[in-house]
Symmetry: C2
């Protein structure tokens, strides 16, 4: 009877295709709101992020990768607090009701939601320029969350994974017109996962609880996000450029160009945390237990600002220092 069968059918399709068993869902998709049971003695942790086509992902990104990434970037925020994700709400604006597109999108979403135990419990579909807003909900023991504000002079600065890969891929895709079609296709196949498939560091975040003094995820670039952490903590940082972890795609670049990607490139979604030296031995343990790269890239100091030291003992200042969402990049 309702004329808005199309929207209704899309919602049913999302419901069917994103089914993940999760605890505490008393009322899921299909009513005006969802009802969730928070385990006794746990706090709720919530984060929300929007991805707009052409701003947060290239317009040619596959719906499968978009479905993965919209969840990944929000889980990365929960990881930065050390929380355990449980549920998600999805607001989807689509130029038209496209069941095929949606099937691919939900497959990508589920490929991350399932291993992370995240259930989609509600949302909204509407017409509009392609845009995805996702709210991720998780839980944590009261008082255990990692904050941006706990760093102290003397703490080690540590990052997971590698830095600068996503920004490099984005530049290559945008400069791709100058490459031969064959090379361009190869490049995209090999490396696009750095941009399209960031891995939220949930296990690492949870492992850091009780050890790290501060934590943030690197979404806007190392300097920008470290800057937020320092501002919240009221201290300064000294980084060593040659200790910044580089993905294979940055090998072969001039030092200054590589460092710029590592210091200022966005979209890596790695965790940056500070660690009192008394816990330094944990780094090796986490590396092994979580099978993850962890690099000590510098040290917290008294004062303010960030000093990046090159291997020649000279300070290095990259030309761009972070990603501004109000400066379009494609």
């Amino acid at each position: 009877m309702p004329e808005n069968m199309k929207e209704f059918e899309l919602i049913l399709q999302i419901q069917r295709e994103t089914l993940v068993r999760a605890q505490g869902v008393k009322l899921g998709i299909g009513d005006d709101a969802a009802v969730l049971e928070i385990p006794a003695g746990q706090d709720l942790v919530v984060a929300t992020d929007t991805l707009n086509a052409g701003i947060h992902f290239p317009v040619d990104t596959s719906p499968r990768d978009i479905g993965y990434k919209c969840l990944a970037v929000n889980l990365s925020d929960l990881a930065a607090l050390g929380a355990t994700p449980r549920w998600a709400l999805l607001s989807l604006s689509l130029p038209q009701a496209d069941s095929e597109w949606l099937r691919s999108f939900t497959a990508g979403f589920r490929s991350l939601a399932e291993p992370c135990g995240v259930a989609l419990v509600g949302g909204d579909t509407t017409s509009g320029p392609l845009s995805i807003s996702l709210t991720a909900l998780g839980v944590i023991e009261p008082g255990r969350q990692l904050l941006r504000s706990g760093a102290h002079a003397g703490d080690l600065i540590v990052v997971s994974g590698t830095l600068g890969g996503a920004a490099r891929i984005l530049d290559l895709l945008q400069d791709g017109a100058g490459l031969s079609e064959r090379r361009r296709a190869d490049r995209q196949r090999l490396d696009r996962h750095l941009l399209d498939r960031p891995r939220p560091r949930l296990q690492l975040g949870q492992s850091l609880v009780g050890f790290a003094s501060a934590c943030i995820d690197i979404s806007d670039g190392l300097l920008a996000d470290l800057g937020h952490l320092l501002k919240a903590s009221g201290c300064a940082a000294r980084l060593a450029t040659d200790s910044l972890p580089a993905p294979a795609i940055l090998k072969g670049l001039e030092d200054a160009q590589r460092w710029s990607y590592q210091l200022a490139g966005g979209d890596d979604y790695e965790l940056l945390f500070t660690l009192p030296r008394s816990h330094a031995a944990m780094i090796k343990i986490w590396r092994k237990a979580l099978d993850i790269d962890l690099s000590v890239i510098g040290e917290i100091e008294a004062g303010e600002g960030i000093c990046c030291m090159g291997p020649d003992g000279q300070e290095f200042r990259p030309q761009r220092t972070g990603f501004d969402h109000f400066r379009k990049r494609s």
Copy 2:
């Protein structure tokens, strides 16, 4: 130091201008995620909705009204469950970082958030076509939520407020080119609140807990949303067209045109609920206690579908029956 000062400043401005005291905020705006304390023995209720310019509001809508409405439509969803709102997350896509626009938007947001005790605890600002995604979080006693699925044959069908006003205003605005400028301006001043300032029926929703057998908010039109309730409850409905409550702006229209607005117009955000006849006396009590219009518009029956009876005893079938978000209206 970060180049994304603009985005950072916008976030600070939002934080400053939306400050509302609310319980349970352990960590608000300014970290990767918010941490909220759910009162012991309460469940969490969450809803999310996106408003896109030109789809969910006319492009000439004031930022103040947009700020109000993005919260109102989500609180309306919480009201339909009988929940008490507490917190909100806001994802804002703006064509450019515009501090003036934002000031007006946050003023509208706060004008509703403050009396409702809703604290903005997080969100995201980014560039993109104007779009607002809001997630509202509230609490409810376990097992007390109103559902769409509890209606039974014999229950009265009741709606709050009036129906069809928002859709009528929208049509008048769109046909406005044919009106003289003076009349157009008058009309906008007098009646746009029906479209721009829906009142979420939170007190009513909370009052219905333990009495109403089913409840839904009317966002897509009476027939569409009643249809969802009937489908969830497995029953049918009979409506009397002359009992449908009309706002002043529908007075003077032909019966068929008025009924069409009331039955199929979207954006009213009134509550539709079903009430066992044994509780019928509560209607008068709620009207007085909450100072709210409540109209009995029909009755739940066995079977399926909706039958709208005109005063002549003939069935009335409106030409359009609901609002499809995938059929643009401006």
